[in-house]
Every structure is written in structure tokens, then in C-alpha cells.
Symmetry: C2
Subunit: 235 residues, 2 copies
Amino acid sequence: MPINPAPRAYQIVLQAIEEDLRTEKLSLGDQLPGERALAEQHGISRASVRDAIRILDVMGIIKTSTGSGPNSGAVIVSNPAAGISQALRLHLAAKGINVREIVESRILLETWAAQMTPRDPIQAQQVIERTAVLIMRMDDAQLSRESFHRIDAEFHVLLASMAGNAVVESMMESLRNSISDYVAASIPDDESWQPVVKVLRRQHKAIHHAFATGHRERAAQLLEEHITWFYSQTH
Amino acid sequence: MPINPAPRAYQIVLQAIEEDLRTEKLSLGDQLPGERALAEQHGISRASVRDAIRILDVMGIIKTSTGSGPNSGAVIVSNPAAGISQALRLHLAAKGINVREIVESRILLETWAAQMTPRDPIQAQQVIERTAVLIMRMDDAQLSRESFHRIDAEFHVLLASMAGNAVVESMMESLRNSISDYVAASIPDDESWQPVVKVLRRQHKAIHHAFATGHRERAAQLLEEHITWFYSQTH
DNA sequence: CTGCATAGTATGGTCAGACCACACTCTGAA
DNA sequence: TTCAGAGTGTGGTCTGACCATACTATGCAG
């Protein structure tokens, strides 16, 4: 009974890169060696190296681009939400999870983040100011629905960032991403969208006001109502 | 300004499979068409198809195996924790997130799950019974440390499963997985491990007792203390 | 010397074709 | 009926090639 569950070739490279990240031999902004170089270094084919690169890519660890020079090739970025979003999205499609669970989780994370004492009060103040700007931009009647959703997402993520927990922030963003298509599909026409967006604007302002005046529990409660109400509109 | 952010070939097949999952043309246990067939269907090379397959694999949507027959090839499974674990793990290595954030998130999710009214009381009762068995198994003094950790993980995931939220369950499992190496490395020798495991056993029993007697808030509190204490041991 | 078109070079993206180990399925002999 | 062995299809890996791209170095023209 060999303990040999088929070691994949790409894992050699993957583990090597993970180790380099851990020991900070590689860090944000660095370029990875070229695929051909990695293949030679580890004694495997470029095809297998590409498997590892692809995984790092979809996980949001690196971004790749063609060409040469300092900004080409595989560069270390840090986008934890990318990988989690993709995973949630696929499992939502595969029926491994459902929308109720995602909304429930989102409420959990956002209300928690709202009630947390900010780790960095200065940053928290900046968030208050920046979200105020976002609210103004969402007031623009000319704004496309797509843009509204984008700013809306930014609003929520920004508020959650006050808690100073990148895991919660990424998961929250991922939860939202994973069901964005679903939401867009359930309110198809602009006619039914108009009354919804009016309510959303009002709710955002109330939430922001609660935050700005330091009523965190109230803000959490409003957030829960906001999210619950919105998804009740998509049924 | 073309809206052409380099459409990757593998996304063709990825989106097609995602759509088939959404419409349940593909569901749990089904086999995907062979890589060569998919390549021909979509007019791309097998290499590009393999990119998509690899992504579905690491995301925990499918498992692949060689050979022929009904259990070979790419089969739809559902392991949401796999993709999320991998993402968290890599971002932990890349310093995009840190251990404090992971522990904090884990406490959030587990205490929430503990306080939730079970969606399925019958299943909840089964969980109580099954966790009791796990606690007994963890009492075995002969148990290897590795086995202990495995059963310990199962204990926590099982308790969280009572809440009936696959997203929370998967995230919890992923958070735990992502730092398991870190934990193992910080308590290297069996000598320092022995007193720790004694406390863990006691805590597990107290948590289980609180659950079994319906004291959910007490259980949540004990869970928080349990997790906090354990990670305080790894510094 | 400066400015700029051009050739050179290295990158990831894609493709085609090959071989392997494996696991099942079919076949035919005992 | 049994079962060893050939057959077939699977993913895993490798090789080598070509492409578009983006930077870099060259060298000509002013």
C-alpha cells in the first residue's frame, strides 16, 4: 500500500513558490522567473510549470502579462478575493451552496465588521469620508446600473475594511461577487430597478450616518435590514 | 479603447461547464466529457482545455483520475473548502493575510454557528451523538498527534454544520486548514504537546456538554475561549 | 548631440502531436 | 464458468513550435 496518491508535477513549482513567499524571497511587486526558467530549474516541462502559474493566477496571487520588461511576466499581486470569489461562484453554479447561505454569511460578516472597534481610528475616519463621496456619486441619476453596482460594492467593502481584517473583507467581497450575476438577472428591466435604487440610496445614507455618528450597533442593524431587503427584491 | 482584456481560451470551456452546472446539465457524480472531446467541441487545443480542468480541480468542483470506466476522468464532486483553503493558504504565505485575522474570523464563524438555531433538529441530534464518539476517540492516549488534529478538525466542522450553512462550514474548514502547518510548526515536540492536548480534551468535553444540554450561548463562549487559548499556545 | 523609427529579444498564450501509466472492458482459451 | 491477456480510453507529462506583445538596444537622420 504505497502512500503515493499521484504527486502532480505542477506541485513542485507551486510548493517552491509558496515557500519563497513564506520566506519573503518573493514579495509584492516582484517578478517570477520566466516559465522556461522555472521549468529548467525544477526539471519539469513548461506545460507543468504553466499549471502552477495558472493556479497562482486564478487564486489572485499573481497577474500575468505578455511582453518583456519590468512589468511583464508573472508579477506578485495580492487579491485574496479573486480566488475565493471564483470558488464560491463555481460552487454556487454546482449547487454545492445556495443563495440563502451566501446572503446569511454576508450579513454575518458585515454586521460583525460594523460592530468591531476600528483597529485604526485614523483610517476609520478616512473611510467615513470616502464613503460619503461614494454616496454622492450614487446619487447621480445618469449613473448606469452597472456603475451603481460597482460603487455600491465599493461602499460595502470600504465599510467592512474598518474592522482591519483582510480575511473578512475578502470573503465579504467574494460573497458579493459570487451572486452579482444572479442579482442582475433577477431585476432585468430598468423600470423595476428605478424604485429599488431609490430605497438603496436612502438606506446607504442611513447606514453612513450611523457610522459617522458612532452608532455602530445601529449601523449593523441597518446593514442587516439593507441586505435582507435587497435580496427580498430578487425573488 | 477596445474592451479586449485578453480573452483566455480556457475561459470558453470554463464558462460552458459553469453554465452546464447552473442548468443542471451536469450535476454531482457526473463525468465530464474527455479532454480531447472538449477540445474538439470548443475548437481549442487540449492544453487550453486542461487549464480549465485544472482550475475546476483546485477549486474542488471536480476530481480527476486516470484510467477508463465510470469512475475515471473528471467527475463532479463538491468540495467548496478545497478552493477556499488553497486561496487562504497561498495568501497567508504571500503575507496578504495574517494568522490573527484567520483566528479572529474562525471565532466569528464558529460562535455564530454555535448560537444559530439548528435548521434541522434531527440532524443536530445526530451531530451531538457523532461528536461524542469523536471525543472518545480523542481520549485515546495512543493516538498520533496527526490523527488527533484530524479528529479535532472533524469535531469543529461537525458542530458548525448544525447551522446548516455550507458557506460558513466551508470557510471554517478552510481557515483551519490554511494554518494547520503553522500550528504544527509552532508546537514541534511531543513533550510540549502533551500538556496542551490534556487541556484541549477538557475543553472539547465542556463544549460538547454545553451543546448537548442546549446551552448554545455558553457553548459559543467556550468555543471562543478554546480557540483563543489554543492559538495563544502557538506563540 | 538629440529624436525617433526600427530590429532584436524575452515574455506569456496557444497549439499540435506524442508517449506514458493506469483502470476498466472485452475476448477467448482453459 | 473462470480468468489471464489484449484492447481501449482516460488524464499526466513532455517536446517543440509559432504567435502577439512590450520592452530594449541600435543606428540613422536631423
